[in-house]
């Protein structure tokens, strides 16, 4: 039995990886470390975030192991606190925020808009160095005893009551923040100023729209986090500041400033993932995305509303009733564009011609999990139910559904989708489909029980818990094991495919984006000649005509 497929590879007997491409153009470590090429920087980013993902993942494994039993027997409470704090910090600031934008975005955005590079290649490289610096500081923090504030740095706990490495962790996040600001800034400039002739705003692939929206959030949100962390660090070092009530400060002010960034940050994390899903679903159903304009504007709407909802993290913290009301209402508003996207993607499948390669499997998984993650967000956005559910495992499950079930699925989908473009070789299809399935099953087994745990009232960040919660925690830990396998598989077979994968050719997926109209791996400056965009995005008829022409001219 052979499943129908759209994969069209060149004849394996004659196919060769183009001799001249961005990977082979220059050799030596220095040519990588001093590169200005967005594709090389994306590759550097890919390697470094994968590294940090596995560190964060290992910490997650430790957390799940500890929670296998009610007592804190694997590690002491202090150690557990450090482990979950480092897990959060690494995953949020060193993996999720840069994951899709800095790797896939960096790689494809210039090609998608038909440019030779990002507008500011040196700033792009600087952004990667800042990321590495931040990662180094984070590792230093971990090696010298860790930090146990949680990733939220709650004051006055972080400024006064702990004696762990809050300062170096805070500065690491500060630096990572600037890395993400520079990436976002670069994207916005590139999307505004570097589009090729004919590339109007409404011919841009939806991946560009969602990355644009996310970049705006990075530019406007991240500096507030930066200054907040500076104030935390100052308060810790000089023992006077604006957050600790003992000095006359206000801890709620910290919450306001912190969530002013950190709520939009979840959209920074998820929006680029949504962009990947738009590309993948369109390509594998051979159809233009249903309601292109609605999907494009829903990204922008999410970005705009994202800035008006932050206080929903503070409903039980004694903000004013009126503010709670307003922020809750606005939170409901931000849920609508996400719903629009889900339905538009579903209807993209309608009357399509669908095939189920790995990126598509991940994308379908994304749609299911993101629907659950999004809907449970409404539970927390509604003030009344938030009281019972917030600060419990319900929250943990909710954001893992969005971040891991949503963003990580999208990231893996994107990595598989653009892997042939990136390396010139195909990944092995069967085993990667298996990996997608394992990830999906493992994910649900890990995080679904946590919804029930949260409803039962199990608080988050507990090293030890009452015994009645054990059954569900065991399920969760078992699921985490499966999930771990699901994440290990891709790194193994993707590495394998670097050498043994089938030659992919220019456009194995028959996709329409400009990045597919050049060789794989692309040239250093992407195109031989700057392309001219003369068709709408996702115009599969244009693509067929194009191919017919080529065949005719060759024949």
């Amino acid at each position: 039995m052979s499943a129908p497929t759209i994969v069209s590879l060149p004849d394996p007997s004659t196919a060769r990886i183009p001799k001249m491409n961005f990977l082979t153009r220059e050799n030596g470590l220095l040519s990588w470390l001093l590169t200005g090429d967005h594709k090389r920087i994306a590759t550097l980013y890919l390697i470094s975030i994968t590294f940090f993902f596995f560190i964060g993942g290992a910490l997650a494994g430790l957390i799940r192991l500890e929670l296998l039993t009610p007592q804190s027997d694997l590690m002491a409470a202090d150690t557990y606190n450090k482990v979950f704090s480092m897990h959060g910090l690494i995953m949020v600031f060193l993996f999720l925020v840069p994951s899709v934008p800095a790797t896939i975005g960096n790689f494809v955005i210039p090609m998608m808009v038909g440019a030779k590079d990002l507008a500011l290649p040196k700033i792009n490289l600087l952004s990667w160095y800042l990321y590495i610096l931040a990662g180094g500081m984070m590792l230093y923090t971990m090696a010298t005893g860790g930090v146990d504030t949680g990733w939220t740095f709650t004051t006055p706990l972080s400024t006064h009551y702990l004696n762990t490495n809050v300062v170096s962790a805070g500065l690491a996040v500060f630096v990572a923040g600037f890395s993400s600001i520079f990436t976002g800034l670069n994207f916005v400039v590139t999307i505004h100023k570097m589009r090729c002739p004919g590339m109007t705003w409404f011919r841009l692939p939806l991946f560009i729209w969602s990355n644009y929206a996310a970049s705006i959030l990075m530019i406007l949100g991240t500096p507030v986090l930066a200054i907040t962390l500076v104030l935390v660090v100052l308060e810790r070092t000089v023992h006077i500041g604006v957050f600790d009530p003992a000095y006359g400060g206000d801890p709620l002010l910290f919450q306001h400033l912190f969530w002013f960034y950190s709520h939009p940050a979840v959209y920074i994390m998820i929006l680029p993932g949504m962009g990947v899903i738009s590309e993948v679903i369109s390509t594998f159903s051979r159809k233009r995305v249903f309601g292109y304009t609605a999907v494009a504007f829903s990204s922008v709407a999410i970005a705009v509303f994202a800035f008006f909802v932050w206080a929903h993290h503070m409903f039980i913290m004694g903000i004013s009733n009126y503010a709670a009301l307003v922020f809750s209402l606005l939170t409901m508003m931000v849920a609508v564009p996400s719903a629009i996207k889900i339905f538009n993607w579903s209807f993209t499948l309608y009357k399509g011609s669908i095939t189920f390669e790995t990126p598509m499997l991940y994308a379908i998984g994304f749609m299911g999990l993101f629907t659950i993650g999004g809907m449970t967000g409404v539970f927390l956005g509604s003030t009344g139910t938030d009281i019972h559910l917030t600060e419990t495992y319900f929250v943990v499950a909710h954001f893992h559904f969005v971040m891991v079930g949503g963003m990580l699925m999208a990231f893996l989908s994107g990595i598989h989708f653009w892997w042939p473009k990136w390396t010139g070789r195909m990944y092995p299809e069967k085993i990667s489909q298996l990996a997608a399935l394992v990830t999906f099953i493992g994910f649900n087994l890990t995080f679904f029980p946590q919804f029930i745990l949260g409803t039962l009232g199990m608080p988050r960040r507990y090293a030890a818990y009452p015994p009645e919660f054990q059954v569900l925690n065991v399920f969760s830990t078992a699921g985490a094991t499966v999930l771990g396998v699901g994440y290990l598989l891709p790194i193994l077979y993707l590495t394998w495919s670097l050498k043994y994968g089938a030659i992919a050719g220019n456009n194995p997926w028959q996709a329409t984006g400009l990045e597919w109209q050049t060789q794989s791996p692309p040239l250093t400056e992407n195109f031989v000649e700057i392309p001219i965009m003369d068709h709408e995005a996702y115009d599969y008829e244009w693509l067929e005509q194009q191919q017919r022409k080529e065949v005719a001219s060759v024949g």
Partner: protein
Amino acid sequence: MSELEKQHEQEHHIVGPGIYVIVLLLLLAGTAATVAASYFDLGEWHIAPGLTLFWNPVVALAIASGKMLLVVLFFMHVKYSTRLTKLTVLTGLFMFLVLIGMTLSDYMSRAWGRW
């Protein structure tokens, strides 16, 4: 002249020293005015019980904003820039006000008490 060239010319409008000197003098005058104003008690306006507007800060901040506008429009050439630049500046101001306004709205409405 084609549309493109017109736009082109606008983008590279060179502001001359004449305007800069005028702006400099205005800025210095503004500084003098705001310092002078700080020496007088300009009174206050009781809008409602518990809500009072003091004129001194209002005047000082209004003058500061006037100076800011001069710098932005002329020294930073925004008056002669593209719509995109103007939009960027406005976005910055808007988000700044959102940060301050929405946060303060929480603090202010806490005093309103329960329903």
